[in-house]
Point group: C2
Chain length 481, copies 2
């Protein structure tokens, strides 16, 4: 088993990073506070803590029975499982500790009056305020509800890792966990109108440019918070892929939010109407950064331990918390469609997987690629069709058609002329069908590059084409792009 | 092992209870809503769910290694451990699902205006309002922070149950978990003044009747949230005692809050100044009921499984969540001193335990009473003092003095004339020293009766004597009794 202690160089680097973060954090308690700087410092601290805790707590996890064998290695050894729970716990603690910093300016302003008080900011103040606005009281409520949703996801994820819940129980877990967020959304914003694409406006009653989805908008947000965690959980099985994809998505979301905050010349997001003052969605995107930066930090620390050759497994807790983090920021800052553009590989994987997920065709317990011990390479894993129960006639036709389209690998038994096996329906296997057997680290790298390219394409579409389709860009509370 | 299925009679009773609760819940969505009725219905539902889930999930817990042997039985059998996590999860889910009901009236009032809004209630409106007030927006924030604190406690409790954290890690865990609550307290109330007892007023500078503790008040609240969970966790080791004491305390807290809400003639809490309108602390005590009623429900369901002869153990998660629930309501509704009066047995147990907790004298891993298999009775467990290392001279004097005061059981080796063993320092052992060996169920019963009597005495002192010591009773935001 790998060592559970830190090397001296690691120990000193982490101590220096943690010390520097604490110094920076202590210095943000002046003037208006510097929440973004404090957030960066907290993220550095969270990175150091996750890195050390993941290393130290390995033996305790193994002792508690949370361990697994890495089957894609020549000598499968037992490594700790469900270590994402450590990352999630540090993540939540740092989000909690950050509360006074996020609201420092507000607290100072609010408490200087003394007694019981309510901070009220009208829309005008928010829209015309300075770069870092005061947070109105309802923002604290939003932040707390985001925290509640993430904590509930963590608890339910730990239950899953521990008790191995069944699919039908797991599937709706995130919907329950997202309740606090949806309720606060209802109370705080209650905006359920979406902007109608220009080309559809002539066909709307009264040529309406906004359509109110009311209850359906809540169902849509609920569906998003079910989909995001589960979609990351099923694009898994190769060292580093769960954390890697989450890092890519979180990084692109940070980039997207930064576009709303940095007023560089020619910033495509800030069109001329807003060029001289902050974008109205600033608050939401600042909050997004506060939530995503520590997530990026703990994920990076976890990735270092989970990448090829993995020293720990991350477990369901991590996948759920990662997906829910994306759903939370997308709902809070109104960019759920942008998030869906970044989740294109996950959506493709989900659609491609449906025949197996819904048991239209047999689905083995694990669908991760098959390790060929002779070559040391990964190959697509297959579902065998025994000779006595071959696929039906129509199914055979479909399989052979899909093989022609290079969307599946099919083996035909030369004796019976029947299909004897088909590759499992995940885009990881599909990638191996396309690109041939490869080493595990190479596979993860290529998949992450693919995820990154899809994401950049998505952001490009979002920021250049949106104005062609919609008449106005993200107008804060009004539209939800 | 005990059955993990429900008997038909149990199944039907639970189904009827759950169905009736759902019907009641559906009917509270009219008029002003009926949050207290909805809370009772949610509690009934939570009871049914906990009862069924605790029964069903037993085998999964045992399979995950969460199991233990009950050493106080003739045939110690393995039963599921840490089942309090199930109760805690149901508790949290029901608190979450209750949010729209607690704020139904507020939501209706708030959303009828449409768009982005802030509900503002001035102090006057709150104090002179009707019996069920509108909840201002900051109340939602308080509720969310209570939920965050309880969830964090649950996560850290599960970690403890799973990984067996060390004392020095465990001790401060609740302080971190209470952060969200303290921060919201700071933003929402910020009241850190306490009323000075009448007899001390002449000695105060300017004869002040209020003294501002500022930072120390936060340290005090933080200490309370460390003490309450840990004090319940160390008064443990007999079937049903952890849940039993929590039920007694929660029941008495509900009674205490009900005294502020029910305007019966001659209600000692509502003195003549408030007789015609609600007590100013109404809001806080309503919130207390919303938090305590589902807690009572899940605890009762757990108690039925944990009472003698125990079919499940509750684990640290339950003790932490129970203690934190008390700390949360005491901080939110400003009755921390009342809570301390109800925790007198826990305080006594803690003080009595300190010599062992702080390792001034040896402390064995477990200090639960010793089961005498011959008589079937529990006897005080002892710490042996080996002949080669007897207690020092001063320690021997103290032990013999304590024995004279009936505060400890001492065995003297007749050969060496040295102390060979002393009873372990918990009030459970002390009770056995006083009352002699007894059956486990009898011991739990007597301890719970003692807890109830102490509690009633505490409430009596609180509501009759407080006015003798302080010049005004709980004036909502101003004093904190």
């Amino acid at each position: 088993m790998a060592s559970s202690t830190l090397k001296p160089s690691e120990k000193w680097s982490l101590l220096v990073a943690a010390g520097a973060s604490l110094a920076v954090i202590a210095n943000t308690f002046q003037g208006d506070g510097a929440p973004l700087v404090a957030s960066l410092a907290f993220s550095t601290l969270a990175f150091s803590m996750t890195y050390a805790f993941v290393r130290w707590s390995g033996p305790a996890f193994v002792k508690a029975g949370l361990k697994g064998r890495d089957m894609s290695k020549i000598m499968p050894k037992e490594i700790p499982e469900a270590m994402g729970a450590v990352a999630a716990a540090v993540y939540i603690l740092s989000l909690m500790a950050f509360i006074p910093f996020a609201f420092y300016k507000d607290i100072v302003a609010a408490t200087s009056g003394g007694g019981n008080r309510d901070v009220v900011l009208t829309i005008t103040e928010v829209e015309t305020g300075r770069f870092l606005h005061r947070f109105p009281h309802s923002k604290l409520s939003s932040y707390q509800s985001a925290l509640n949703t993430l904590q509930a996801t963590t608890i339910l994820g730990i239950c899953d890792d521990l008790l191995d819940l069944r699919w039908r129980h797991k599937f709706f877990i995130p919907a329950v966990a997202s309740l606090p967020l949806l309720i606060v959304y209802y109370v705080d914003f209650g905006v359920t109108s979406v902007v109608v694409p220009n080309f559809l406006v002539p066909y709307m009653p009264n040529q309406a440019r906004l359509v109110n989805l009311s209850l359906f908008y809540y169902l849509y947000m609920s569906a998003l918070s079910i989909f995001a965690p589960n979609s990351i959980n099923i694009l898994a099985g190769v060292n580093g892929i769960e954390v890697g994809q989450s890092l890519v998505i979180a990084g692109l979301l940070v980039l997207n939010s930064a576009l709303y905050l940095v007023p560089f010349p020619g910033n495509p997001v800030l069109n001329h109407a807003y060029a001289t003052r902050p974008h109205p969605a600033t608050d939401g995107h600042l909050m997004t950064l506060y939530i995503l930066l520590p997530f990026l930090a703990v994920s990076t620390a976890l990735y270092i331990h989970n990448r090829y050759p993995a020293r720990v497994f991350v477990g369901d807790t991590y996948c759920y918390v990662a997906g829910m983090t994306f759903a939370v920021v997308a709902i809070m800052a109104h960019f759920s469609k942008t998030l869906l553009l970044l989740l294109i590989p996950q959506i493709a994987n989900f659609i491609y997987s449906t025949p197996q997920l819904f048991h239209l065709i047999p689905c083995p317990r694990h669908r991760l690629p098959k390790f060929n011990a002779r070559t040391g390479l990964l190959e697509p894993s297959v579902t065998p069709w025994p000779p006595e129960r071959p696929p039906s006639k129509p199914l055979t036709t479909i399989f052979l058609l899909l093989e022609k389209l290079h969307l599946i690998q099919v083996t035909v038994d030369p004796k019976t002329n029947c299909i004897s096996s088909t590759s499992n329906l995940t885009i990881i296997n599909l990638w191996l069908v396309w690109r041939g057997p490869m080493r595990e680290d190479q596979l993860t790298r290529e998949l992450l590059i693919m995820q990154t390219c899809c994401g950049f394409l998505g952001l490009f579409v979002r920021h250049t084409m949106a104005l062609l389709i919609f008449s106005a860009d993200n107008r804060g509370k009004v539209s939800s792009v």
